[in-house]
Amino acid sequence: MKRSAPCTDTVCRKQGFLKTFRKNLPLTIMALPALVVMFLFRYLPMSGLLLAFKRFSVPKGIFGSDWVALQNFEFLFKTSDAWVITRNTILYNALFILLDLVLAVSMAIGLSELLRKRRAKVYQTIFMAPYFLSWVVVSFMAFSLFSVDDGLFNHLLAYFGFAGVNWYSEPGKWPLILTFFQIWKTVGYSTVMYISTLTGISNDYYEAAIIDGATKWQQIRRITLPCLKPMMIVLTILAIGRIFYADFGLFFQLPRNSGPLYPVTQVIDTYVYRALKETGNVGMAAAASLYQSVVGFVLVVGANLAVRRIEPDSALF
């Protein structure tokens, strides 16, 4: 925090605080509505984190329920699949973050370079379309492609004289399928984010570059990408914070909860869902969520530290 003058005694410190406070008051007031909302709707419910260490009883409430130490966390680690679950969650998310970054930035730049602006707008709108479809609907669509008896793919295979594939029981094909659908559904969304950043870049830079005789590639490398960098960094750090959360719909609905596919579709969220369907233990649910949060927190702090070393201005905090 900035301080106007070094103080040692309490009075002076207090004055320093008051002075800073008064000086920053208008901006604090501006932040106040958001702070109130944040406090009421985010921080008040944080008491629920305690449930991770408790056995919940309705009459006793959150604070009165009995402590059970770390018992609620055991189910996350005592399964023989703990390694597979963790590996799948992290690898898929890492892949998604990387692909989404590369593809969304490329698409944003590509769209902005098209000669006909109208077309670019139409494309961009269409690319957002999959984002509106729920995973349940997508899973039915996918089923009409992959169904063993009636699926389009098996019909095509049969047409060309190949044997049909039992898509829902062959794990080898699913990393690709899952990745495709994830990107298909979300890349339009990220693209919009980068396009709006592109729009904000002043033309002066490009004009100057053209006068210097820069080629298109040089312009992209020297002007566009550096201008997009802060957004790329921010979105990536935020995505890293959620690396331990998997999209339930993608991994549960799309493969239709098919058992033989678990080795490649079992992720932390699907595991927790199946595990707690039976017992409905809110303590265990809280434990799982706390575990995901802590990992995310550590990774975000780490990623932010790294960014601060290299590029202090782009760091989140």
Binding site: K2, F56, L111, Y123, M141, S196, T199, K216
Partner: protein
Amino acid sequence: MLPFKKHPRDEGEGDLAINRISRRADRILNLIFLLWALACVLPLILVVIVSFSSEQSIFQNGYSFFPSEWSLDAYRFFFRLGDQLVRSYGITIFVTVAGTLFSLIITAMFAYVLSRADYAYNRLFTLLMLFTMLFNGGIVATYMVNTQILGLGNSLGALIFPMSLNAFYVIVLRTFYKSIPMEIIEAARIDGAGEFKTFFRIVTPLSKPGLATIGMFTTIAYWNDWFLGMLYIIDQKKYPVQTLLWSMQNSLEFMKQSSANALEYAEMAANAPTDSGRMALTVLVVLPILLAYPFFQKYFVKGLTVGGVKG
């Protein structure tokens, strides 16, 4: 949708026209985008077609672009709701508009404050907010706070406030604000403008692309939400449209799965449009907001030019 940056060539300055990409590059890009656009739009078209197909033709041919028989059954099923459907659309529209306005204002002000390097508490508040993105108290505690302390049970407030501050959007917007040169803000201050005036008169017009993006995402989020309604609204008359349709569809599937034990329902269940219903539901939810897109686009483009952002 968002406006694209105008190229220098658009301004008709001859010497800048050379900055276009070549026709060949343009053609290749168009081809790639066209293929991707097909992959994105065909499923949506299929959803619409299936929603107008008869259940029988779906059973016979699966999902098809060319159903053997068309039918309005799925829509009839939902339109049976009559007044309720209209009322629910009304609630959704109200929640979306009020929610987006409220959310956008508090998000933008907060993001701006956090973007100011000279603000004493910006690091503290950023951390506090980031914390809420990573940690959450879980549904039990959240539900208790919202219903027992804040008294939002069964009220529209429960649909608006809980999702009004999204840390992700704050951070994205903050990134936009950070790209505004500090000199502009300093200049305003020297001219005697207070913080609020600076923000609304100077900074906001400059950050319209960012605001438009976040505003659009917020609108979509409010529009698509069915879960808050499902959790907090007890009285079906107050359901937003997504919750209503979700509930209808699930009741239908529930009925179908257990119809064997209820004689008088057997026939009704047998004719119920589950497959096409699912798609009709999607159409009823997605179509209005997709149709609203061009208007968004127009409005935001206009806002931008009025704001005087240099293209």
